[in-house]
Structures are given as C-alpha cells and as structure tokens.
C-alpha cells in the first residue's frame, strides 16, 4: 500500500548489508519517479553503516546489476549487493 504520488518498494539486503540495515528485507516508500539512487539515498539516511559504504554497494533487479539512474516501479524488489567475497 502507498499514498497517492508515492510507491513502495522492497529492498533485499545481501551479505553484510543485512547487518548494516539490521534486516534481510526493508520496505521503502518513495516518490513515484524515484530512481535506484533515490532508494540508496533514503537507505543511507536511515542506516549510517550503509551510508559509509554507499559507493561500494551495487543494486540488482532480477539477475541484472542496474544503473543508479534506473527508475523504480511500485512493488519492485531491489537487491543490495555489497562487496563480494566468494571463492
């Protein structure tokens, strides 16, 4: 549910971003033309540990890394991809 002129998205927090945000899933209410950068900005306001590392975090939608200018849609899910450590 969201107010007129706003949309709600879900943020999936992977790896250490679960610690920074304190949860695996975070809901965000954003303006209806909001971009990935706007979502990250909102998260950075809320979570200081994420703010410190914002430049190292990528965002995925589905199986793609998306650009920060990508416009979001109501009910979309985005994934925070902090620095990776596989192998």
């Amino acid at each position: 549910m969201s107010y007129i002129g706003t949309m709600r998205i879900t943020v999936e927090c992977y790896g250490a971003s679960q610690r920074w945000c304190g949860a695996e899933l975070v809901s965000l209410d954003l303006g209806e033309t909001a971009t990935v950068a706007d979502a990250l900005g909102r998260l950075a306001e809320r979570y200081p540990e994420l703010a410190l590392r914002r430049d190292t975090v990528a965002v995925a939608i589905g199986d793609e890394i998306v650009a920060s200018g990508r416009t979001l849609a109501e009910d979309e899910r985005i994934a925070l991809i902090p620095p990776v450590s596989g192998g």
């Binding site: 992977y14 790896g15 190292t56 975090v57 793609e64 450590s85 596989g86």
Partner: protein, 146 residues
C-alpha cells in the same frame, strides 16, 4: 536448486566434476578447488556460511564459463557452494579442459580470480568463540571488466 545449477547447496565433491571424459582434442585438464581453512587473520574458524544472490550468481557463473571459453579456447565448468561448510570442505570448483597446459592453467586461474570479483556471493565466517561475521569483500564488477 536443480542438479544442473552452478550453485549447489552444501559442500562440493571435486571428483564429481571429473567424471566426464576428456574431449579427444584436449591434452590438458586443470582443476582448482577452494576449501575452508581453519584459521583466518589469526582467528580459529569452525566453518563458513556462504550466501548468494541466486539469480545473479547463476548468471555470472555461466558468463565466466562462456568468457573463459572464448578467451582461452577451453571448456570451463564452474560451481560454487552455498550454505554451511565446515573446515576442509570445498566451496568452489573450476574445471578446465584445453588443448595444452598453458591455456588450461591460464583459463583456470582467470576463472577463479574473476569469480571472486564478479559473483554475488558472501562469506560469513564462524569462529570457535561463537562469533560470526561477513568478510570484507571487493565491489562487484562485470565479467567483461575482469
């Protein structure tokens, strides 16, 4: 998770990737496996919980195979574990079948180095004192950038 998936739940069995016969035009097989060590930065490690972004990780692992095939003229298979692994268990396996050993080694090394920079997987280390933490990693790159 399907059997043909490159991400597998639990520890990998290296021998499982070696059952396919060598193509007759290939003379060199190179394999790398990464396993969980008992010490990291001076702390006693009891295991690692591997987390992945499944959809993107599967895609990136397939891209590594395709890119390595193109760059080195080799057949490359890549697999990575997710979930809880104990010390000594294998988290990643790279298998390369190539004409000669130079390409086999080069493709194998490139694949593991690239995997560590491009695949959305995270190590959560568990320590003997009960603590756990996500390791610091490297900002994700694309396979083409690597």
């Amino acid at each position: 998770m399907s059997a043909s998936s490159r991400l597998r739940q639990g520890a990998l069995n290296v021998a499982e990737w070696l059952t396919r016969p060598m193509p007759s035009h290939c003379g060199g097989l190179a394999v790398f496996a990464g396993t969980v060590r008992d010490i990291h930065e001076g702390r006693a490690v009891t295991g690692i919980n591997y987390h992945a972004h499944t959809a993107l990780a599967e895609r990136r692992l397939a891209e590594i195979e395709a890119e390595a095939a193109q760059r080195f003229g080799a057949e490359v298979s890549v697999a990575h574990a997710v979930g809880e692994l104990k010390v000594g268990e294998a988290s990643v396996v790279i298998v390369v079948r190539a004409g000669h050993r130079a390409e086999a080694f080069a493709a194998c090394r490139w694949a593991i180095d690239t995997l560590k920079q491009t695949v959305p997987i995270w190590k959560e280390e568990r320590y003997a004192d009960g603590a756990a933490r996500f390791l610091e990693g490297t900002p994700i790159k694309t396979v083409k950038e690597s």
